[in-house]
């Protein structure tokens, strides 16, 4: 089991695509749940329970779609590459380390693709669990969730800028602006009574 985990992390470290999937789907998860949060905040018709159910519903849907989508896509792409390599080598690669590694890689990527949004959504929704358990007031849950979301968005922007060796602060703030844009759009929709 420990070896399986070590292999899993080794693959993630070696394969940049896993990192890309993680960041991309984290953004998806964060911004999706942020949509629910803003909608709930502006409509003021929500309860902690409803926000948790909606958020987790989105998280589970993204988890399944992430795993399935990444698995099917990666499998097809990698299979194509393997067939091309087999043609070059004039040899079947069944049972070799290359094929086993590829299988492990596809599973690892699919898992990351599914876990990334769900994990982020659960973290962002955590204050609402506290609110449901009467540990913090409902309004505070919103405040804490927005703060966690801002930190998560900033961290992703920061991390991406670090990879690209760009201005980390600016990129962190840009990511937060994406979140604010969602809030503004939902606010406008609410104001003109479209939703």
């Amino acid at each position: 089991m420990q070896r399986l985990f070590l292999n899993f992390f080794k693959i993630i470290k070696e394969e940049k695509i896993a990192r890309r999937y993680f960041i991309m789907n984290s953004f998806d998860g964060i911004l999706s749940v942020l949509g629910i949060l803003f909608a709930a905040f502006f409509s003021s018709k929500f309860s902690s329970n409803l926000i948790i159910i909606s958020g987790i519903g989105v998280g589970i849907a993204m988890f399944v779609s992430g795993i399935y989508g990444a698995y099917v896509t990666e499998r097809a792409e990698r299979k194509k590459d393997l067939i091309a390599l087999e043609k070059h080598l004039i040899k079947k690669l069944d049972g070799t380390r290359i094929k086993k590694r590829q299988k492990a890689l596809i599973f690892a990527i699919a898992l990351i693709d599914g876990i990334a949004p769900l994990f982020n959504i659960l973290v962002i929704l955590f204050p609402f669990f506290l609110s449901r358990a009467n540990i913090i007031p409902f309004f505070y849950a919103f405040i804490f969730s927005f703060i966690i979301t801002a930190i998560a968005l900033f961290s992703l922007g920061f991390f991406l800028a670090k990879i690209a060796k760009e201005n980390v602060l600016l990129n962190g703030l840009k990511a937060i602006v994406a979140g604010i844009a969602i809030g503004l759009i939902i606010f406008l929709f609410e104001k003109i009574k479209i939703i």
């Binding site: 070059h88 080598l89 040899k91 690669l93 070799t96 380390r97 290359i98």
Partner: protein, 88 residues
């Protein structure tokens, strides 16, 4: 009782391999085989998917079959044995 065959001390192999594992990793794999003490790899051709290499493998008892099995596990193919030195 048959006479023990004299051990192979040096063998030069012409190998076609995928880009991964790279030659550093492949040399370590070969060098990890019992009886092998030194591995030198030269790349002489590269294309989009593969590399052609010459591997000079030295040791007290170089086991060709074991080398073949191990490197084939990494997707590499031995094209030919280009040089061999056997001695007691």
């Amino acid at each position: 009782m048959g006479k023990k065959k004299p051990p192979v001390k040096v063998i030069v192999l012409d190998i076609l391999k995928p880009h991964k594992p790279d030659i550093i990793e492949l040399s370590r794999v070969i060098c990890g085989i019992k009886g092998i003490s030194k591995v030198t790899i030269n790349v002489y051709a590269t294309d989009e998917k593969t590399e052609s290499i010459k591997a000079t493998i030295e040791g007290s008892d170089v086991n060709f079959e074991k080398i073949k099995k191990d490197i084939e596990d990494y997707g590499a193919v031995i094209h030919s044995i280009d040089n061999v030195r056997t001695g007691k």
